[in-house]
Assembly symmetry: C2
Homo-oligomer: 190 residues x 2
C-alpha cells in the first residue's frame, strides 16, 4: 500500500535465465479491486486521481509495463482460466462438504458472487481484450476439463521455451582435447 | 544486468510520504549508454531487440513508467543541469591541479569528451524534449552560476511541496480534552 500497485510485482520479477510465475498478478488491480470499492479506497490515492478512467489507465500501465519487459528480453505468457458461475457454486459446496477442503473455504467468495456480472464486465471491458492482445492463451477450465486446461497451459509453456531456440554452450575445439585428457586420467585411476 | 534497465530504479522508489532523489537515474540508459556502445552490449539483450529504434523505445518506457507513477500519486520533478564543453574542461583541469580534487578525476571523462556531439544529439533527440514534456525545470549550470542553479532547483522543490497543500492531521474535538488532561497531569507532577 505504501507504493504504486505495480511495484510489488516488479520487485520480484525473475532474473535473466529464470522463469517467474505470477498467480493472479497485477491483473488483480483491474479485476478484484474493481469489483470491491473498499480495496481501491485502501490504496490511499489522492482523490483527484480516482475517476471512472482509472481502470483504462491501469490497463494502459500494464500494457506499457509488459511492452517494456518484452523489449528487455522477457517472454510473457498469460493464462486466464475461466470458471462459470455454476461451476464455482459446485466447487464452493465441495469445500463445505469435504472436511479436507474446509481450509480453502472463504465466506468472501460467496459474498463476491453477488457481484459476478460486475466482475464479468471488468474482464470483458479490458481484461479479455488485453489478454488477447498479448497473445495470451485463454482457455475455459470448466467442469471436468481441469486436466485438459492444465495440459493446454503446459503445452503453451513448452512452445514458448522451444521458440527461444536455447542451446547448450558450444565447447571450443581446444577444450575438447582437455576433456579427452580428463577422461584418460579418470580411466587410468587405480 | 540480470534485470531490465528500469528495475534497479523501481526497486528503490520512495514510499508514500517520502522523497526520493535519483542522481542521473534511468536517463543514463538513453544518454550514457547511447554514447558508449560497450555499455549496451553488456546488457545481454537478445540481438533481435537491439535496433536503431531502441532509444525511442526506451523514452517510451520512461514516459509510460512516469505516467504510471504520477497516476499513482507520485509527484515527479526532473532537473537537467547543463555544463558547456568549455566549462567541463575547466572543471577537469581543476581536478588535476588541486590535490584535494584528485579523487574526483576519471580518465574516462576525458575520453568521453571525444563523443561530446554524440551526447548532445542524444539529449536533443529525446532528452530535452522529454524533460520538457514532464514539466521539468531545465537550467544552465554554467560558469560561476552553480549557486544560482542550486537556488532554482531548491525553489522548484519548494513549489512542488506547496502545491501538495499538505496539512497537519486535524485533531478531533474529543481528543482536545484528552490533551488538556495530559497537560494537567504533566504540570501536577512533583
Amino acid at each position: 500500500m505504501a507504493h504504486d500497485w505495480l511495484w510489488r510485482c516488479v520487485r520480484v520479477l525473475p532474473e535473466r535465465g529464470q522463469i517467474g510465475i505470477f498467480n493472479r498478478s497485477y491483473y488483480e488491480e483491474v479485476l478484484a479491486v474493481r469489483g470491491a470499492p473498499d480495496l481501491l479506497e485502501a490504496q490511499s490515492l489522492p482523490a483527484s486521481l480516482v475517476s471512472a478512467k482509472i481502470w483504462e489507465q491501469r490497463f494502459q500501465a500494464i500494457r506499457g509495463f509488459e511492452r517494456h519487459l518484452a523489449r528487455s528480453g522477457t517472454v510473457i505468457r498469460k493464462f486466464f482460466l475461466h470458471v462459470s458461475k455454476k461451476e464455482q457454486k459446485k466447487r464452493l459446496l465441495e469445500r463445505l462438504d469435504d472436511p479436507d477442503k474446509h481450509w480453502k473455504f472463504s465466506e468472501n467468495d460467496v459474498r463476491q458472487r453477488a457481484s459476478w456480472s460486475e466482475y464479468m464486465r471488468a474482464y470483458e471491458d479490458g481484461g479479455a481484450r488485453d489478454l488477447d492482445r498479448a497473445r495470451a492463451v485463454v482457455r475455459r477450465a470448466r467442469g471436468q476439463q481441469v486436466v485438459y486446461a492444465r495440459l493446454v497451459v503446459a503445452a503453451a509453456i513448452v512452445d514458448a521455451l522451444e521458440e527461444l531456440e536455447l542451446e547448450y554452450p558450444k565447447v571450443p575445439p581446444g577444450r575438447k582435447k582437455a576433456l579427452e585428457r580428463a577422461r584418460h586420467e579418470l580411466m587410468s585411476e587405480k
